[in-house]
Symmetry: C2
Subunit: 341 residues, 2 copies
DNA sequence: CTGTTAGCGCATTCAC
DNA sequence: GTGAATGCGCTAACAG
């Protein structure tokens, strides 16, 4: 049996109250001698307060939940690391929830986390969430009254607390780089176009184009799915549309493009310049190393956690509500001046 | 305020006990009518038991802790996914703890998890743990009386519950493959040789060698550190030792080798055959795709969780105590018959 | 069949 | 300065 506060009381011959007072730093009027006696007993018996009991009476568990789709995804593991590191710095703990992008699991986990009395929830919504499902999730979330912060996606209609990266800017930076090099026919391998991030990156692409007076050509846009296979497929689909550069909306599909292009005997960047998005560590190792847009994912996790902690009833600071972090372009060897035309 | 069991009692005009009984499936003698009434009220008021309170009285939290060094490491994120999936299937939850391989944090997290009343701990010890530290950790662990399972490493002296992969066999398989192809001078880029996994892989390497009557040559062994940089450095270090193949003890250092070799104008597998270990997803994309030993990491997480759940007081099944999972070789394009000699 | 009571481990208000 | 009493939300003997 674990030693309880009662054991300390018996051992010292004092009451439970006194022990509790000194252990919680509210012992203004307790003489040093008593304090010492208690601390010594605590140390001797190895007493540590049962946090379940503390949680019941204080109504706080020093625990937050993180709802993501799949921790194996490099994006989310980076995020989770940022979250956990910030948690540790504040003496909090993290419950990890993988939904595999199933809306139903979002709901289930929100309920479970509420049951467990978490003090906050970091929520990266499942991508299968359409407008209706999003509203369902957020309605449930708000019915729990638990502070929450949305990650990587927003839904301003219902939720004003979020941390995202600027996808529009990322799309712009990648495209601008290619335009600056002289490319005028730039293909896009997007993600699913019902997702905000893909949509915004495409917006950035268009903005860059118009800034350089390059007409937008819808034929150059291939709607991918953020997978390796999608990237490979895009190469086939774009084969007959003249272009000198490809902007893949994530590194994974860039690898697919890279792979398929090589199979067909093309060289990067000689025949095609290629830009990715995410700057996964592997992009550095690729041959040639991949130019890619870097998103501060770890920071998203870290900042979101900070925000969430601020929203805790205890330190109810409602000042900062949203954060848009800035991506930047990492230029490597997969891009150069166009060769053909 | 969240609705409590008391609210249901008032609402239905019944006592708290009755509510508790039907909600916990112990209502043999409660008439259907009463049950229905209660269930309806529960549904209507959206009542869900506060798990903190339940935990306090039942002394179980349906939560386990996972202590690893860094979730960003592909190995651990795969592991964690296996753990979390199995948890979900059993209605459990997971608290994630990253130690960054700092022994002190191992200790801190063990204490915190115990304070939180977790029902079990999955423990992948920090690599900076020498014999003394290992004993310290496990002694602390056992003082909590919380069931635990060690992951990926063993310490039979104190702990008999673990799930590992067979590193010796993995080392053997990789080496055997190269020997079978005709290689007789096989360099090794190991991990830190004070770690069991590295040591065992080297043992497997030696066993394969002796089976094929190839003398062991210590000059061919380069002690790396499982990093990209380590892999790169090994190429320089091994430059003057004649060899036709390289067995890197993890994929990351294999990438380093691959990279450095290419920089020097060598071709894989023409000039050197290369085998990695871990079979990280990227190994498939590498050019040429990397032959690698696949460890069933997800399964390690999954099986360890199953084991842990079995060890729970409720279903105290002490039968299975250890599990050694089997790796296998995935042959791709980075290995072929030796060209030189 | 259902209600009363006690207690899980702790924090806290109010007396002494 | 310190202790007794109360309650957090729930489960589980034990009555009746």
């Amino acid at each position: 049996m674990r030693t309880t506060i009662k054991d300390i009381a018996e051992y010292t011959g004092l009451s439970v109250t006194t022990i509790s007072l000194v252990l919680n730093g509210k012992a203004d009027k307790i003489p040093e001698k008593t304090k010492e006696k208690i601390l010594k007993a605590v140390d001797h018996l190895g007493y540590r307060p049962n946090q379940v009991a503390v949680g019941l009476v204080k109504k706080t568990t020093k625990t937050i939940g993180l709802i993501i789709s799949d921790i194996r995804n490099v994006f989310f593991s980076n995020l989770a690391k940022g979250v956990e590191d910030e948690c540790r710095r504040n003496g909090w703990n993290l419950i990890l929830c993988n939904t595999n992008d199933m809306h139903e699991r979002d709901l289930a986990y929100i309920r479970v986390l509420a049951d467990k009395g978490v003090d906050g929830i970091l929520y990266a919504m499942s991508v299968d969430s359409n407008r209706e499902k999003t509203i369902e999730s957020l309605t449930l979330m708000e019915s729990t009254r638990i502070p929450y912060v949305m990650l990587d996606r927003t839904f301003r209609e219902k939720c004003s607390h979020y941390v995202v990266t600027n996808h529009e800017l990322g799309g712009y930076l990648a495209t601008q780089h290619l335009l600056e090099l002289g490319h005028r026919h730039i293909a896009c391998v997007t993600g699913p176009l019902h997702l905000d991030d893909s949509l915004f990156r495409l917006e950035g692409y268009k903005r860059a184009l118009s800034e350089y007076d390059v007409p937008y050509n819808a034929d150059l846009i291939y709607e991918g799915d953020y997978t390796l296979e999608g990237g490979r497929a895009s190469v086939k689909a774009l084969a007959n549309i003249p272009h000198t550069a490809i902007f893949a909306f994530n590194d994974m599909s860039a690898y697919g493009v890279h792979n398929a292009l090589k199979m067909q005997g093309f060289e990067i960047p000689k025949d095609y310049s290629l830009v990715g998005y995410d700057n996964i560590f592997f992009s550095e190792i690729l041959d040639p190393p991949l130019t890619s847009v870097h998103q501060p994912v770890y920071e998203v996790g870290k900042e979101a956690t900070k925000l969430l902690i601020k929203m805790t009833p205890k330190s109810a600071d409602k000042s900062v509500q949203e954060l848009v972090l800035t991506p930047h372009l990492v230029i490597r060897k997969s891009t150069q001046k166009p060769n053909k035309e």
